[in-house]
Amino acid sequence: MAYYLMLFAAGFAGSFHCIGMCGGFACALGRDPHGHAATVLRHLLYNTGRLTTYCFLGGLAGALGQVICTPQGMTVSLVGGPLDAAQRILAIVAGLLMIGMALQFFGLLQGFHRLASGFGSSAFAMSLRSLLTARGRAAPLAFGVFNGFLPCPLVYAFVAEATSTAGALPGFLTMASFGLGTFPAMLMMGGVGQVLAPAWRQRGVWLAGSCILLLGLITLSRGILPIAAHIAHGWPGGHPA
């Protein structure tokens, strides 16, 4: 449980990064003319769509990790069982990816940034704007779903983490915790509609970077150090199987 709480916290910290891009969307989603409750509903729908995409990606990534780790189709027993080599490698790769993403938040590794956000999807994002102004309950939900697929280093980092859990359920839970972590900030952005001062936003980005860096180091150590693996699993609750 503590593991997922930490992910939630990381998501919360990371969401200050979201304010840069997705916060703009949340602001643009705006208020509903039918009153405060309708506005809250609108934003909840948007965030639900986003969360669904994250969870789906998490589940998929986890399942992929599972496939990689168990080529013979055996299910890996995570509790107590020693990590096999494939999962270690996966953890190392995911950890390195996360560290790379984190460094990019600090303004390092600019090439990595292009790699992370340069899939030419800005045209896609532009075409999504038509959804922001569309009426109806379905539009914000649909927008949220697409928003979840927009390239974002934060999401990539957590998807990498989800893959390293090597299981559909833990992967799903990883992304769910992260997604729920981003809820407060995004709801605040949309509902309150206040934009934080740029200085604060910069601090938020650093905070997000630190969190991911920490997570990346933990994931990496899970792959490298035999003891750390036991520490990770020694947590109360650990990875549920």
């Binding site: 075409s127 038509s130 959804l131 539009a139 649909a142 949220g144 779903v145 359920l169 799903f172």
Partner: protein, 724 residues
């Protein structure tokens, strides 16, 4: 674009199953659902409800199917076993509730397509999806009611989702194929700003008449042919001429429709109706070419048409077979996998995409393909027959030698030029140019009369001066030195055109004129030969003249003295040996021969495109592009073959795997969608073909080298690019 035969998004032929939508207030036709989505996503204005509605449907469909997939993943990993097993029916019910709207939203377009095809008595690939997904859904619904252990809502929705996303991605890739063709096809839908008095009105180009004033702002395409009456700018005429360079335009300069006005506003007086420009002609020609189907495409279409019932039968048989040993649900899944994986979309896409990319790639360099089959034929041909005049030669006469009876060559040329500057004849031009090249002032000549078919006469310094053929000289009864007369006859026998110059009642000189070989002819022939092509010269000219050109161009095999009928007979004979023959001509004199060849290629055609008989038209002075065109044609054919091999091979292997039960339906759908995308990506490699590189710059020295040498002593050679 008002044409309904081409898809609005990817410019491929629509066929009979058009999808029609209203985007931005216009009626648009699309060849498939993917193009419909991609076009609306790309071009739909944000205030358009329909574009937004489409995205909303996709988004909500995605939301529902992702939820279904998540729950199913949890089911598969065994989250609801043991204590939670009593929750299972409720989870199934929840999945059913999610799946029903998802099926309606995502499956609607496929169902509609199937229905429309069915009404017309046809079965297409969408029928496979509808049958497969419908079966999975109905079975699962019964399983929920009967409290069965397995439901397959995830399979049903994910197959739909993957096919929708796959079609979108495929269409997005296909739009890149249309990029090169767009400027050419824009002619019909182009608008012009017509200035009438002080008022400016926007009109369709087809409503622009001759002598109207049209304003063109920087960055706009010039919509009509005409003359600049106001303003200065540069234009890029690449669309029409194939040469991407800036041409300066000022008052009085002619401009051609289709070129881009680069940097200054221009006011243009139209010189003809908007529909008669070469741009508009090219537009119609390209559109016709795109609508036509190549032979390969016809075969592929027939295979696709025949395969759908076969696949349905295979799916049914697979299910029946496995149902004997396995529970019905497993057998059903195997059957579904067969239906999904055998969808023959990629086969239908293989040829038209590569062909239209090839046509676009050639069009960008000014080469016009009028029949899509010609690219494949050109790639297969082993023989290229050339016409001589106007194709390998410039088609313009040059003075290549002067024989005199003692008079100075400069005097001869100056007197001849004094006469010939009044002549419109090509020979006259050649003589004045020869005089100008040597820096001679033409002798002032008065009382000039043209004697049609014979020559020209006038008066200079009180003496009669005559230039003309031998017949004119004997008619006049002027005396000729025997040596000069002998030389003249032998020159004529060698295929030169001979003009006699005389004054003071005596023939003083004989000028030999010849058509000069194009400077790029030799390198082009060499490049073609290095591509394994046999090059042949077929000429209607005399043997000596033909041989001179053949030697200059480096062609070993030449046939001379052929009438157009004899040329066609020669081609027929060659076809027996080479199977496919290509004929290269100038499109002026050899129209019937070009039409008769398997591939007619016109170079530098000045004729009306509508009357053009060649299937492939190179731009003026575009002979040097021919090897590159062959390269493009071969690349297109290679791409079509690899596409077809991939699509067929993939289908065969995948169907076998699916029938053996080794392929999950969701995986099958993913790989199926991937196969179409691979075909698109493979075809898009054609975009990366290098641009043509001029192998020989047309310059003076090359022209002199290639000009034939003569056995005259008085003046070796005056040659060069006669007329700029």
């Amino acid at each position: 674009m008002t044409d309904d035969r081409l898809c609005r998004h990817c410019l491929l032929t629509i066929g009979r199953r058009a999808m029609r939508r209203t985007v931005n207030g216009e009626n648009c036709a699309f060849c498939c659902y993917g193009c419909c989505i991609a076009f609306q996503v790309r071009s739909g204005k944000s205030e358009e409800w329909e574009a937004a509605w489409l995205l909303i449907r996709l988004g909500v469909g995605g939301f529902l199917s992702m939820n279904i997939m998540l729950f199913s993943l949890l089911l598969y990993t065994g989250a609801f076993t043991g204590v939670d097993a009593r929750l299972l029916p409720w989870v199934h019910l929840l999945l059913w509730i999610f799946a029903t709207p998802a099926l309606v939203i995502l499956g609607g377009p496929f169902l509609r397509e199937t229905w429309l095809d069915g009404v017309q008595g046809r079965l297409r690939s969408s029928a496979l999806i509808v049958v497969g997904v419908g079966a999975a859904y109905i079975y699962s619904a019964f399983a929920v009611i009967e409290r069965g252990t397995h439901v397959y809502f995830d399979t049903a929705t994910m197959v739909l989702m993957l096919f929708t996303v796959g079609r979108y991605l495929e269409a997005a890739g296909r739009a890149r194929a249309a990029r090169d063709l767009e400027p050419l096809l824009a002619a019909e839908s182009a608008c012009a700003t017509v200035v009438n008095g002080g008022a400016e009105t926007r009109r369709a180009v087809r409503d622009v008449k001759a002598r109207m004033l049209v304003r063109v702002r920087p960055g706009e395409r010039i919509p009509v042919d005409g003359v600049v009456t106001e303003g200065e700018s540069h234009t890029d005429e690449a669309v029409i001429t194939g040469e991407s360079r800036q041409v300066a335009k000022s008052v009085g300069s002619p401009v051609i429709a289709g070129s881009i006005n680069l940097d200054g506003p221009l006011l243009i007086q139209s010189s003809g109706a908007g529909t008669t420009t070469r741009w508009a002609q090219i537009c119609r020609s390209v559109r016709d070419a795109l609508v036509r189907r190549s032979p390969t495409q016809r075969i592929a279409d027939r295979v696709v048409g025949a395969s759908v019932p076969v696949v349905l039968a295979l799916g049914g048989l697979t299910m029946l077979y496995w149902a004997q040993w396995l529970p019905l649900e497993r057998a059903l899944l195997f059957g579904l996998a067969v239906l999904v994986v055998a969808c023959p979309c990629a086969v239908g896409l293989a040829a038209p995409l590569a062909t239209s990319l090839g046509i676009g790639r050639l069009a960008r360099c000014g080469c016009l393909v009028r029949d899509p089959g010609v690219l494949e034929a050109l790639a297969r041909t082993r023989l290229l027959a050339f016409d001589k005049t106007g194709t390998l030669t410039s088609g313009r006469a040059h003075v290549v030698g002067i024989e005199t009876d003692g008079a100075g060559t400069d005097e001869v040329l100056a007197r001849a030029a004094g006469l010939e500057r009044y002549s419109e004849h090509g020979f006259g031009h050649a003589i004045t140019t020869a005089a100008a090249v040597r820096g001679l002032d033409p002798v002032v000549t008065g009382d000039v009369r043209i004697l049609p078919g014979r020559g020209i006469r006038g008066n200079a310094d009180g003496k009669a001066v005559v230039a003309g053929n031998g017949a004119l000289m004997s008619e006049l009864g002027w005396s000729v030195a025997p040596a000069l007369s002998e030389h003249g006859r032998s020159l004529e026998a060698d295929g030169y055109s001979v003009i006699y110059i005389g004054w003071g009642e005596q023939v003083r000189a004989a000028l030999a004129l010849d058509d000069s070989v194009l400077p790029e002819a030799r390198s082009t022939v060499e490049a073609l030969r290095s591509r394994g092509l046999h090059v042949l010269l077929l000429s209607g000219d005399l043997a000596h003249a033909t041989q001179r050109v053949a030697v200059a161009a480096g062609i070993q095999d030449a046939q001379s003295g052929l009438s157009p009928e004899a040329k066609r007979a020669a081609l027929r004979q060659l076809r027996q040996r080479y199977n496919v023959v290509a004929m290269v001509g100038d499109g002026l004199n050899d129209g019937p021969v070009l039409a008769d060849a398997d591939i007619g290629i016109a170079v530098g055609s000045a004729t009306d495109l509508a009357r053009e008989t060649a299937a492939l038209v190179l731009p003026r002075d575009g002979l040097w592009m021919l090897p590159w065109v062959v390269d493009v044609a071969r690349a297109v054919r290679m791409t079509i073959l690899t596409n077809l091999m991939w699509a067929f091979g993939y289908n065969c292997i995948a169907v076998t795997l699916a029938m053996l039960g080794w392929l999950q339906p969701v995986l099958a759908a993913a790989v199926m969608a991937g196969s179409s995308i691979i075909v698109v990506l493979n075809s898009l490699r054609l975009e990366r073909l290098p641009n043509p590189v001029p192998s020989a710059a047309p310059d003076q020295s090359a022209a002199v080298e290639s000009a034939p040498t003569m056995h005259t002593s008085s003046l070796p050679i005056i040659a060069g690019q006669a007329i700029p």
